[in-house]
Symmetry: D2
Subunit: 379 residues, 4 copies
């Protein structure tokens, strides 16, 4: 595979490499790692790429790789550029016959997301959208328990994603991450709600299998001088009549990255949070609560498929991320081998989730400036 | 003192007795414990009241007690009837010269709350409103730390109160608590948001010292057949520019009573929840988080004053409740002795909080049925 | 009732008053509250005792109270003096016909404990020994679950009691608690292992219903200059073949009072700790773990009988303590009424536990100085 | 590198591959993956090894690899065979000029461990012993804080390692892990105390920098029919006068793998446990406790060097393991480049820890059968 973006100063590119290296299924052989030619070359060397596959332009890379013999060229590209640079390389990669892994949000606009989805549909290629939190075993377990209707009809969903790292005007200190993520030209219409709110939104829809149908939103710019929202809350209505609250903030000083969800049905509730990623608490209306554990007793097929070590060996963020890649790569391998991928392999986010995510951003931004309380969620 | 309501089948009356007994400052000598004469008498006997001070009508009780010599008559009354029966006995008690303890919400309407406040002002008597959660030592500590501005300007407040006990139509099973709390004639305009949402609202204003100025609310009746809201969420704006989210629900199946608050300022955040009532987590933007503990190191005067046992001996809900009574009784004793009560003694909720709470109920109910997003919070 | 010891500077006397006041069943009407006449009188006045029942000598008190008419004299005495002053007042009280509540350890020596037990037996009076931790609802629940054999044969018991308050030579600063507890003349043969190790020992035997039969112990004086052990560990063998480890320390700097026990049988394990007193974690060999909660679902009769508030209203140390008094008082009331006390009422520690505790102290001290590993536990 | 053992049915071999793949520094190019030729070949193919480097005999592998040109042959071997098969391949690998990674316990006997250490010394090659828990960032942080003497003189150490997976006679069901680990011929003199007790022992010495000098031990065979200990406790004396308790068990039904350590000094204590691997709790005698977090504020150089992702992205067991490999590989790379490895790189366990671990096993087993309480810890 090849990487677009993710050079030596980037954050998420390095995370991708840790994740796809882990299982030994994926080998990075090429890269256009930076828009700066110098950085692209230096980064490629640091990552032991062969000189002839260190590219300074992703278009050139996709052209040349596509021209190679099938057994030498890359199978897929991973796109880890800032948001505004997702769409074009993804489209071109698909057109050249490469599968695609892309960071979230999938594109810069909902319209682009739809075009990309159409292209995936047309080409029959695979696209993995990196909603990492869906890779945690206990998130998978929650999803499966709700698919099996263990809680009865879902009534209430609370999902939150508190961070504190943008409590100061970090983007003016030259910090690269803060810089592009708070810049509308590179990040898009939304700051916090696009960067992490989309993860919370995706987690709620992924676990419950429900869809948001109406929203009421309030975005804030808390730190003076910031160009995009750094905080927000959204009231939600779902297609089964359930309601919910989504909270995302990057100015909760002292918070790290504790995305957390609670879901209540007629019979009980589920609770999961990243800081205790290997526990899924199941509360019952009329029985003592239970704690399901990664690798532990009573775990279903979906979580088990995404677990590497026995119970009690904590699996973390990188393993969750690696699960996305492992499932994606397993589907590619199965298809190459003429086999049918299992349901467990196919359980990774793609263009459908990408469209929902972009719609979330656009709807939430529109709703935030509306004086009307409830706004339909449109795609 | 004497109790109005709180007979043998009541919930909160028994809790009051546990609370005011604890410190040995308060003696219950009279009571009109039920609207049913039979129950009033039976309850009085069970509580070892003298026969001549077991009343079947609170008006008679207030008349007769007021007519006794000062050293024999009661000092104050505690009113633990359903919401619709708070105002009249409270007004009459004040008129007869008795201090008043009253369960929340203070009255049935905002207008009554204002009348009661005026009467307290006029008589110079004391009124304690039982927002129990303000009695926890670590809630007091949080309040004091914010009074000392340790977090800088407050930016974000999340407060939540999830319960699950009304997940079914319990009120149709004859359960007494469910019956009156879901009945608009006895409970008021609001169900959940009045019963527990007011506690969450009070906690946020109490700890931060801020006031809500605008709200956006959405109340739900989740269980079909219920007459009042059993779930709701409110977006908040505060008078310093901070924003917040308040969540209250009684249909989170499996949840008990875990009221919880998180407050973030420029420098860090505070977190407190009832299930770990003796810990106050303080998170910092640039230092490791700290856990302050009841009776532990670094605790301020306000929390210390409200602590009975050394660190590590958990203080619970009854001790928090007893703190309200102990402070109230200490103020009465100080005044009797011609002394000035300390700031720590005076730190209990009264009519000001009562008016805010009733305004909260009325504003939230109005805002919930409005199609406009933001509604001013008026009192 | 009357109190012996527990004057204005004492710690545990005040705790007793908070505990027995709570339920309104017990009234303190007399006291010999200090060996200092001045302090005894001052303390009595502070506690609103009538002047004629403020005594400066417990012997005088017991004589005079015994001489009063039955409907006026006290029913029982509570002895909260330092350890060396338990035996004599307890014996005299029994001889005068009064029931007895006594702080642990029951006496100064095993031999005294046996004499006291014989006296209780002889008089038919009740004696309550204040192993407070047995009063927690979730400790009761653990006991009942093991009585019902839910874990199969018990194999392993870990019990620990870490404190840090004696990390410095506090007894030389004039601190009253540290002073007598580290003084062999007032505390007995043991320091830490007598003061808190006995609680841990009692908790293990109480919950499991097993008896220790052999021990290997190592006591330490960690802080130079201290006269008694301030730290220790004991390996345990039980009468069913189970083994265990008991750890008690008062020099774990930063620790408060987190007594904790874990018990494992063939099918699973139980875990309880005071810092999360309202949760009992039940781990299973082949099922997800469960969390039983005070007042929650699935709770047995023993815990329910010892719970005052609905689930989610934390009950703490004082409620646990009050449960001892409530059960003791209920037994006295039942007997007065000619009724048979229930099993739940009778479930409080007495002379049997007192003998086991004194034997524990004497055996552990002897074993600690032995060079032989295993020593039989004798009583 | 090449692997010896770790074929398709093995547990820890797969874990090693996940760990060394992660950072992309290590490539597995050869293997003698099983004593069964068939399994060795099948496993090699599954792992995409070239056919000519799939070996069925480790001796042949070491011979042939040693004969290859320096730029083609392996740099090091990883030995993941059962305990009785560590020593010979390790010795031979060193003799052939290869660095060595070996699972713990380092050898089958203390004497072998010493021989191996001498060989490492003689050859100047590197040996990594896989005490995985030393790779956790917060374990490193604890070590550094004690190196900086933040707690004052250390007084008390509690270390425990509870598992429940051997609560039944699993070894008779054909389970491969249980089978060899409970077999004295393959596992060694000790079962539980060798398998996991050594980890606990190593963790205590690693973090504190202290050495055990005397022990009192009691090992048990809890499950009838088992050939080696499955449970044990050891009282410890350290070379600075501190004392400790070590508990290890594999019959705590319901427990997973929660190795945990608490260390107390004059000024405060540290607490770390694997189930909350990214938090290090620091308790203070006279200040609120603090929670240090992986990647968070206030973290020292040692932990930072061993952290991959920003605070709040949980790092787990595989990252801890990968840290061992990353540091080991970094030292090899530095030496190849003629550079001096940093102190952070060199901070991984080797033969010194191996000798201590083997001595621990031999001393504990001897002490367990002794009737004398305290036994000197000899190496």
């Amino acid at each position: 595979m090849a990487m677009i973006g993710g050079g030596k100063d980037a954050f998420i590119g390095a995370v991708h490499r840790l994740a796809f290296n882990m299982d030994g299924q994926v080998e990075m052989v090429a890269g256009a790692l930076s828009v700066s030619a110098e950085s692209a070359i230096e980064s490629g060397k640091m990552l032991y790429l062969n000189d002839d596959r260190i590219y300074t332009d992703y278009k050139v890379m996709l052209e040349r790789e596509a021209a190679m013999p099938a057994d030498q060229r890359i199978d897929f590209v991973t796109i880890v550029t800032p948001n505004f640079l997702h769409f074009e390389p993804a489209m071109m990669a698909l057109e050249k016959g490469f599968h695609v892994v892309v960071e979230k949000p999938i594109t810069f606009s909902l319209d682009q997301a739809k075009q990309l989805a159409a292209k995936v549909e047309e080409t029959g290629l695979q696209l993995l959208l990196c909603h990492t939190y869906t890779g945690y075993p206990m998130v998978k377990q929650a999803r499966q328990m709700l698919q099996e209707n263990l809680l009865g009809n879902i009534r209430k969903i609370y999902v939150e994603y508190p961070q504190g790292w943008l409590s100061t005007l970090l983007e003016q200190t030259g910090q690269a991450q803060a810089s592009w993520r708070t810049d509308p030209k590179r990040s898009g219409k939304a700051g916090c709600i696009g960067d992490i709110g989309t993860h919370a939104f995706n987690l709620a829809e992924y676990i419950t299998g429900l869809e948001v149908t109406e929203i009421c939103s309030a975005l804030n710019v808390v730190v003076p001088g910031r160009m995009l929202d750094d905080d927000g809350a959204v009231l939600l209505k779902f297609n089964n009549g359930a309601t919910g609250v989504l909270m995302a903030t990057q100015v909760a000083a002292g918070e790290e990255n504790n995305i957390r969800i609670r879901i209540y049905g007629e019979n009980g509730g589920l609770e999961w949070q990243q800081e205790m990623a290997n526990s899924l608490i199941v509360k019952w209306l009329d029985k003592p609560s239970q704690t399901y554990r990664t690798g532990g007793s009573g775990i279903g097929s979906l979580a088990s498929h995404n677990t590497r070590t026995p119970a009690g060996h904590p699996e973390g963020y990188l393993e969750a991320f690696a699960n996305l890649y492992r499932n994606f790569a397993s589907v590619l391998q199965a298809k190459l081998a003429g086999e049918k991928p299992t349901a467990e392999m196919l359980d990774f986010p793609g263009t459908a989730e990408g469209i929902r995510g972009m719609a979330f951003i656009e709807n939430v931004v529109a709703a935030s400036s509306s004086t009307t309380k409830w706004i339909p969620f449109t795609t």
